[in-house]
């Protein structure tokens, strides 16, 4: 099993090594990076490239580690016992499998994506240490020991909202998706919009990196925003000349709504445009 990037996903060399290391050594891969650099997409792409099933576990602030293993529905059992249902005799009927259980018992070696692990409670990663290490856990209600037949490929993404505990980090591979440079960005755009006009792309990239360089932006536009913006530019059929225009009166790029997602950022940009204009007039 080896991952070499896919048609829709441009993987840099270091990312490929990290993914392959995680596959070969059967340890979780922790992926961090700016929002919109393709962390979550990666798992889907790796699953597609290797032809294995993908099991996604999206973590929220209320998610508990136990929910990934299994949940015991005591209330329905209680209700069934009141109604005299036959089901009640087997406690296994009330055990709901979690995503990790699913991944452990999957026939083909799956990819388990634990998405946005930093959203959960601060103790969440600690509660999964043993399960991720040994790939097994115990179901107290039925006395079953669930053990992974083939160790799933575990991918974990984090947006850095919380710091992860050391013991957890020690067990993972780590990859920080750096913001792509111009060349990689060209490649990414090519992959997504193969017949987009070369000049338009090049001008758009200029504008894009300029916007990213503006100091003090709350949310810098990232790859996914660039792709959206290009799509808009194409559908609106905007001429590349408009983009090339460096007239300070028109400093705000066309359709900027796709790039700047924050009201304050738009204001900042407008203010800069205003300053540039004033500078020119004096």
């Amino acid at each position: 099993m080896k991952f070499e990037g896919t048609k829709q996903y441009v993987a840099t060399e270091d990312l490929r090594v990290a993914v392959n290391a995680a596959i070969t050594l059967e340890r979780p891969l922790l992926i961090k990076g700016e929002p919109g650099t393709g962390k979550t997409v990666l798992a889907a792409e790796v699953a597609g490239a290797l032809g294995v099933p993908l099991i996604e576990w999206h973590v929220k602030s209320t998610t508990k580690a136990q929910q990934g293993l299994y949940e015991y529905d005591a209330i329905s059992r209680l209700r069934d016992s009141q109604l005299g249902d036959e089901k009640v005799k087997d406690i296994g009927n009330y055990i709901k499998k979690g995503k990790m259980w699913e991944a452990f018992t999957s026939e083909k070696r799956p990819i388990l994506l634990i998405d946005e692990i930093d959203k959960a409670d601060i103790e969440f990663p600690n509660d999964l240490l043993l399960e991720l290490d040994r790939m097994e856990f115990f179901v107290y209600e039925t006395g079953e020991q669930i053990k992974a037949t083939t160790r799933p490929i575990v991918m974990i993404t984090s947006n850095n909202e919380k710091e992860l505990p050391d013991a957890f980090l020690r067990r993972c591979f780590f990859h920080y998706i750096n913001f792509p440079d111009r060349d990689t960005m060209m490649e990414i755009v090519d992959v997504h919009y193969p017949n987009i006009k070369q000049k338009l792309v090049s001008e758009a990239l200029n504008v894009f990196f300029e916007v990213r360089d503006v100091p003090g932006l709350k949310k810098k536009p990232s790859t996914s925003e660039l792709l959206d913006w290009l799509k808009l530019l194409m559908s609106e059929d905007i001429d590349e000349k408009v983009l090339r225009e460096r007239d300070p009166n028109k400093l705000i790029p066309p359709l900027h709504g796709a790039l700047l997602k924050n009201e304050q950022d738009v204001h900042l940009f407008e203010r800069l445009a205003f300053l540039a204009r004033r500078e020119r007039n004096t």
Binding site: T24, K162, L169
Partner: protein
């Protein structure tokens, strides 16, 4: 194998453990790098570094361990043909530049100094004006500004092909060596909790269900609201001036507190609390909120935390009109007193280490107003402050 890398990383304060080292060896054994040094670098990075802040340190150590030695040896053994250099200089140097070379004693002298320097110097060097390295004004090294510079190594470097990936050090600006991580702060802040059940009843209350069922003779399910942290916090940040040095710690505390407390309000002040506070530093001159309003808005069960270095002239606290920014009708101490009168639980966190406190009179005064409830802004200090607030 690669033991040097491991120990050097540890001495460079990159937190690597034996487990990760073994993981790297296992990866090498399973032949993941496939005999390519670049791939080995990526593998080592993905196994040994777990925080993007350490990537830059890792690159430096890696470059030092694997390239430093051999490169330096190369330079030491390389014979630079003198005539060749001289010929070059005649071709490219202007008259003025040649004169400057004479100022150093001519070519022979220059070469001699170079040899000495090579022996003197053992490590990679950047900046400065004497050693061989990059970016400086020494006559030796690459990318420098000395007109008579001798370029050593890196002939291909600038064109991209030969630059090793770890030499690019792309991760530079993410590096930080702040000791307090937000995680640790959060754990410390967690001491401040008071659980209460409020809101929608979503959880099964087992004891009450059992009691009610026994009482009624049929199943009577009782529900209860989930437990929430009920603590309410009011934070005042000193901003600007001498606090600029502590901005990083304050930011960390702020973000930790923000995610830890659901009911948190914050305000800024400058040096000492007076009749006005503000929420946005950009508009602090026109959007000032009256301190009276703040004291009236938030009830007395709020826990109050002041964060500031309390370092100022004593007049700024004790006299009306003492403020450095405006004319204050009432003394700062009066305002602080009002706050401590209304809110039973109030602490002052000070980023200045506590052993320096006694040398600053203003710190002593404020500590008195707060009846000794000033704590240093360290993990232990936060811990103690939270205990104090919880009482």
């Amino acid at each position: 194998m690669f033991y040097n890398l491991f120990t050097e990383l540890r001495s460079a304060k990159v937190p690597v453990t034996l487990k990760e080292y073994l993981m790297l060896l296992e990866g090498v054994e399973k032949n993941i790098p496939e005999y390519s040094i670049n791939d080995f670098y990526y593998l080592a990075r993905t196994t040994l570094v777990k925080d993007e802040r350490n990537l830059d340190k890792f690159d430096q150590v890696f470059g030092h361990v694997f390239k430093g030695m051999e490169a330096l040896e190369d330079v030491l053994t390389a014979q630079i043909p003198e005539e060749w250099l001289q010929a070059l200089s005649e071709k490219f140097l202007t008259e003025e530049e040649k004169k400057m070379i004479e100022s150093l004693g001519g070519w022979e002298k220059l070469m001699e100094t170079l040899k000495e320097r090579l022996e003197e110097q053992k490590k990679r060097h950047e900046g400065g004006n004497k050693m061989i390295g990059t970016g400086g004004t020494s006559p030796f090294g690459a990318y420098g500004y000395n007109p008579e510079g001798v370029r050593i190594g890196q002939e291909k470097g600038r064109h991209g092909k030969a630059v090793k990936v770890w030499d690019k050090r792309e991760y530079k600006n993410l590096d930080d060596s702040v000791e307090l991580g937000t995680r640790n702060i959060k754990v410390a802040l967690r001491r401040l909790r008071k659980f209460a059940r409020e809101g929608a009843q979503t959880e099964l209350d087992l004891p009450d269900t059992i009691r009610a069922t026994a009482h009624q003779g049929y199943l009577d399910i009782k529900m209860i609201a989930e437990r929430h942290n009920k603590i309410k916090v009011l934070i005042f940040f000193d901003i600007g001036g001498s606090m600029d040095a502590h901005i990083r710690t304050c930011e960390e505390l702020f973000s930790a507190a923000r995610s830890e407390f659901k009911h948190m309000e914050y305000f800024y002040f400058h040096n000492c609390l007076y009749e006005g506070v503000w929420k946005d530093n950009k508009r602090r001159h026109n959007e000032v909120m009256s301190t009276w309003d703040v004291l009236h808005t938030y009830p007395h069960d709020y826990k109050v935390i002041f964060i500031g270095d309390a370092t100022m002239s004593p007049y700024e606290i004790t006299y009306p009109g003492g403020s450095v920014e405006h004319w204050n009708e009432e003394a700062g101490a009066m305002w602080l007193q009002r706050v401590t009168d209304i809110y039973e639980s109030a602490v002052w966190l000070n980023p200045v280490p506590d052993k320096h406190w006694e040398y600053t009179p203003s710190i002593e005064i404020i500590n008195q107003v707060f009846s000794d409830r000033m704590f240093p802004l360290t993990l232990e200090g936060i811990d103690n402050a939270m205990k104090e607030l919880n009482r």
